[in-house]
Amino acid sequence: MKAFIANRGAFIALLVFAAVVLAALLAPWLAPHDPVQQFREHMLTPPVWQAGGLAQFPLGTDELGRCLLSRLLFGARVSLMIGVLSVLLALLPGIVLGLVAAFHPRWVSPLVMRVMDVLLALPGLLLAIGVITILGPGLINTVIAIAVGALPGYVRLVRGSALAELGRDYVTASRLAGAGTLRLMFDTVLPNCLAPVIVSATLSFSSAILETAALGFLGLGVQAPQPEWGSMLSAARDYIERAPWVVTLPGLSILVTVLAVNLMGDGLRDALDPKLRQA
């Protein structure tokens, strides 16, 4: 923990991330307007610091007259929620499958790994697109699609770690003491595999946010009128010249959030394993 705090970049990133989380949690109270409410008389209003800006809409409005600040705040909720849910949805089954595969190398393991190989045959975004094609667009389906893409990574990681631990003496000792398989799995082996899993989870989280935005951008993720940073960018494409703030602000939100999570992940990895330090 100390090492993490000592790493200045990671610490600042933590603060930024905490700010984003706070903003997302408090969105209903912080947002000046309802994010889906359209103010037809104030379409494409610039942010308050530019000419023509209104105090009423601090970050301006989009092409349908919706308050950008409110949409960004609620969009944060969406992105963070999908991020957390998709990581959990991939992590928990991933840990279980990985452990099961490690403990049953005879025929369960090859079966599980083959299925994972099929999932890995498609790169992340394309796999998510494939799942969305089957299930249809929407928030829940986005969570599932991203989770399916992240699952094989966890299974491989946990299986690999667990296999390495299984060869160690303390596991043999536990086994000899009469520990049952379940207990061996979760009590003995798992805690020692967790460090790389946690680091991987942080990085999955940031790529989940990027994937959510990408799917939103393509119209395959969270659907209108629900605010989501990526879909906001898709609509903004036509307004690059006229209203650049509609393009820059949602994108910056994505960038800052993902950057913060990535820096935290780097800091976490350095703190947990000094050998890997990037110095």
């Binding site: 083959r114 299925v115 190989d117 099929v118 045959a121 498609l122 790169p123 992340g124 975004l125 394309l126 697109i129 494939g130 094609t133 089957i134 249809g136 940031s206 990027l210 935005a213 990408a214 951008f217 393509l218 119209g219 395959l220 990526g230 960018l233 903004a236 494409r237 690059i240 010249e241 650049p244 393009v247 820059t248 949602p250 994108g251 994505i254 960038l255 993902v258 950057l259 990535n262 820096l263 780097d266 990037q278 110095a279």
Partner: protein, 341 residues
């Protein structure tokens, strides 16, 4: 080496079959009647419905359908687009080179910039240069590619008007299709200025697509070089009186390539996904845009083919990377000739 290739191909077969199974199941997993999905809004009376089912082989038991599908694949038949009624394979043949040109240029850019920057950062570790490169790479790593494309369009296409906004070549040029690679075809055509126009159209999308891989490669190169520079054999190389350049490149980078190559496979995956987004932004007529359009238009045979082909490409690339890894890392060649004295 050849034996290794065969071994690896053998392990791919089950995965390959799995992928075809998924592609096959794609249409059938979508809720609803497949015929109605494909036909869309049009009303069909039961007779027409039955006739269509029979014609598409959908009245057969599922396993039979799957084998029929495999048979079709083996013959290179990927079905027909519901929208254009053209064979999917034909459309693919025209669009694929466009994506290859884009992704290839992006990867080239990523390597040409990422490797030297990462090496220089490692050699000048701790300097302002190192910190600048690493900060930029970290930001580049966290960037949503589609937003980056929009930003660059705003800056260069709209703001400075240096590059065009979409397409592969100015619409005033009529370049005949020879290879599918616009840079090649434009050079071969006798239209003055065509090649330059093609290049200008390629530049921005390639930069956009290549940014994230470049950031990742730079970071990886730096950390790999830092590890290598610590090794004893680097000291030996210098003790041999070799020039600093030779020591760093022939002895240093050569070993740093090992972890870098492992990262390459992932990067190509990222390129494939990123290509979909980049092609959408720049209206680049490649298979990425084709796929997205097909999804929007419910052109399921195209979607099915697109997913299958993407998987094949990705698996192929990973195979190449695995082999490359074996080349680059002698310890992994699985040879049994371990001579001891």
């Amino acid at each position: 080496m050849f034996r290794l290739l065969l071994q690896k191909l053998a392990t791919l077969v089950p995965t390959l079959l799995g992928v075809t199974l998924v592609a096959f199941a794609l249409i059938r997993l979508i809720p609803g009647d497949p015929i109605e999905i494909m036909v869309g809004e049009r009303r069909l009376d039961p007779a027409q419905h039955a006739a269509l089912m029979k014609r598409m082989g959908l009245d057969q038991p599922l396993p039979t359908q799957y084998f029929n599908y495999l048979g079709q694949l083996a013959q290179g038949d990927l079905g027909q687009s519901l929208v254009t009624r053209e064979p999917v394979v034909e459309e693919f043949k025209v669009l694929f080179p466009a994506t290859v040109e884009l992704a290839g240029s992006a990867l080239l850019l990523a390597l040409l910039l990422g490797l030297p920057l990462g090496m220089a950062a490692a050699l000048k570790r701790g300097s302002w240069f190192d910190q600048l490169v690493m900060a930029t790479a970290t930001v580049g790593n966290s960037m949503p590619v589609f937003w980056w494309g929009l930003v660059l369009i705003m800056a260069f296409s709209v703001g400075l008007e240096w590059t065009p906004v979409s397409g592969r070549i100015g619409i005033e040029y009529d370049v005949p299709f020879v290879s599918g690679f616009m840079l090649v075809d434009a050079a071969l055509s006798d239209e003055a200025g065509a090649w330059w126009s093609a290049l200008l159209h390629l530049v921005l999308p390639a930069v956009v697509l290549g940014t994230i891989p470049m950031a990742v490669i730079a970071r990886m190169t730096r950390s790999a070089m830092l590890e290598v520079l610590r090794e004893d054999y680097m000291r030996t190389a210098r003790a041999k009186g070799l020039s600093p350049a030779r020591v760093v490149l022939h002895h240093g980078l050569r070993n740093a390539l090992i972890p870098i190559v492992t990262v390459l496979g992932l990067q190509v995956g990222s390129l494939l996904g990123g290509a979909v987004l980049t092609e959408t932004i720049f209206s680049w007529p490649g298979i990425g845009k084709w796929l997205i359009d097909a999804i929007a238009r419910r052109d399921y045979p195209v979607v099915q083919a697109g997913i299958l082909i993407s998987a094949l490409i990705f698996m192929g690339v990973n195979l190449v990377v695995d082999l490359l890894y074996g080349v680059v890392n002698p310890r992994m060649r699985g040879e049994l000739g371990k001579d001891k004295e």
